[in-house]
Subunit: 321 residues, 2 copies
């Protein structure tokens, strides 16, 4: 077994961190998910990750199975190896040399990038974006992240922060975002945005039974899906509102980049057509008239749930940027 | 002289069309500007262009001085050679095979692109964008156009319509645009937007002398510049408002693309610092907090006035897209 070398792909989210061993064909050999505990210092998260890796190595009876470590993390900077002001992680992540931390656990090649860029690379190498030269991959998790594929390559921009569609302003007087702006797309279209919408509706309809049932962040998405399928008016309203805001953001991004497709990935995207049909209609309504209707595809990731991020992170040493 | 071959670069605007002979080093050998007369059929514009070219050829005593013709035109599509729904041109331009028309005058290689992309290519090959791998070039003319340089290349997107920053929505309930949307950036930041702002102010201040003096579209820009320099309050208000809106649009584009610089070109950009200082402040105010302040440069084109478009158009056969 000693000559078999895998890459370790890590996908750090505001709530969960997924990591796995990936082979040279993009196949996930082994993976698991743990809580990020984002208010703790990142060293504790990585201690727990490498404890698990140690167990995997014991199981595989080899101490050298990993040849490369790639991590996707909110506001991870490919060029500097630092995480800077990540919107959904705690104070110890504010300006943090993540590559150095990872290397302190294993002294092998390491690269990091934005979590959404990692997912985009996964989709481009092995998923729904494979056939497109211009696509935007959107991660709907705790926040809303995105990765831009232009001319078959991921775009980083000058400072590594290109592609932050979550901070496009869709309502200039809207909800306050912790990036300092108001009305950012992610304040409407993400797990966080959904909770905000539910809270507002609870104020408007304090007696509503369905809204009362939405009392567990982790289960709310699934409950709204079910209620939507049962024609519960407020469930439809929630997704219609979410989809409309999403469509406004997509139209702005399309006005700038004119991609072939938007590809969705992450927790909230499991609502699928329930949100995405409204988003598609809203996007077409908000595109300038020189766009042909239905020119831009709205697709769901076709990689196994939660794997685009770790697969993409594990390919970071194969990107040319 | 017979072996000397130039490229003909044409820059078609809503009001004026500039064209010139450009050599292989990007030097403009000869150029002129004529009215576009945008409500006439395009064949009349090209008849007038080639009448002038005939004269130049007589003067240069050669009939074969042009080896390539490139044109920048609103909503010109590099891939199809068509102009489609150009916002500031008349009905005969609605869906028009411009490459075929040009070839009917001269049967030599021809390419067209969006007018703003042409200017961007000019700036990238020979102007202020030369040293940047990621820059956004903005044309402030009758409308607001833009060209995106990403990883040293112009971006066209899937349908050739990438980079239309003029149609980014900065005020969802704002001024009606003829692209079908409301509150598009170009309805505030362009010659057209400026006229709109002046009209609104005239309604608010019907007796104001300075506003009354703004009665000639072609001279208004210069008059506001002069009044601004003389501390006329309403002139300052006009540019402050224009610059603020511009900054909001720049921030949105930067949130997506994180460029090194925005470079300005075209009629209204002659107001220079009078608008751009407000725009820079507004952009920094509207960027998410993970951007460093003053990370993104705001620059003026350094090509001779009106030449970026024709130089860029003349290089269209040297781009790799």
């Amino acid at each position: 077994m000693d000559d078999i070398k895998y890459s370790l792909g890590i996908d750090i989210g505001g709530t969960n961190t997924v990591f796995g061993l990936i082979d040279d064909n993009g196949q996930v050999i082994k993976k698991t998910s743990i809580y990020t505990k984002s208010n703790e210092h990142p060293k504790f998260l990585f201690q727990r990750i490498f404890n698990e890796i140690d167990k995997w190595e014991d199981m595989l009876k080899s101490k050298n199975i990993i040849k490369f470590i790639g991590a996707g993390v909110p506001n991870g900077n490919y060029f500097t190896g630092y995480v800077v002001n990540p919107p959904n992680l705690g104070k110890d992540w504010l300006h943090f040399d993540l590559c150095a931390l990872i290397r302190s656990f294993r002294d092998i090649p390491v690269a990091i990038t934005n979590d959404a860029n990692a997912a985009a690379i996964g989709e481009k190498f092995y998923g729904a974006a494979k056939k497109f030269s211009d696509a935007i991959i959107i991660t709907l998790g705790t926040g809303l992240g995105s990765g831009l594929i232009v001319n078959n390559k991921i775009i980083y921009g000058n400072n590594g922060f290109a592609g932050e569609l979550g901070h496009l302003v869709v309502d200039r007087n809207g909800r306050e975002c912790n990036c300092g702006l108001r009305g950012c797309l992610e304040m409407y279209v993400s797990a966080k945005g959904l909770e905000y919408t539910i809270k507002e509706l609870k104020n408007d309809y304090p007696e509503n039974k369905f809204l009362h049932s939405l009392n567990d962040k982790k289960k709310n998405g699934k409950r709204i899906d079910e209620a939507f399928d049962n024609n519960e008016k407020l469930a439809i309203d929630i997704y219609k509102f979410t989809g409309r805001k999403l469509g406004q953001g997509l139209a702005m991004a399309a006005t700038i980049l004119a991609p072939e497709a938007f590809i969705f990935y992450g927790g909230l995207s499991n609502a699928r057509h329930r949100i995405l049909n409204y988003a598609e209609k809203s996007m077409n309504d908000h595109l300038p008239s020189y766009f042909k209707k239905n020119d831009i595809k709205i697709l769901q990731s076709n990689l196994f749930d939660g794997e685009a991020g770790i697969i993409g992170a594990s390919c970071l040493n194969k990107t040319q940027n």
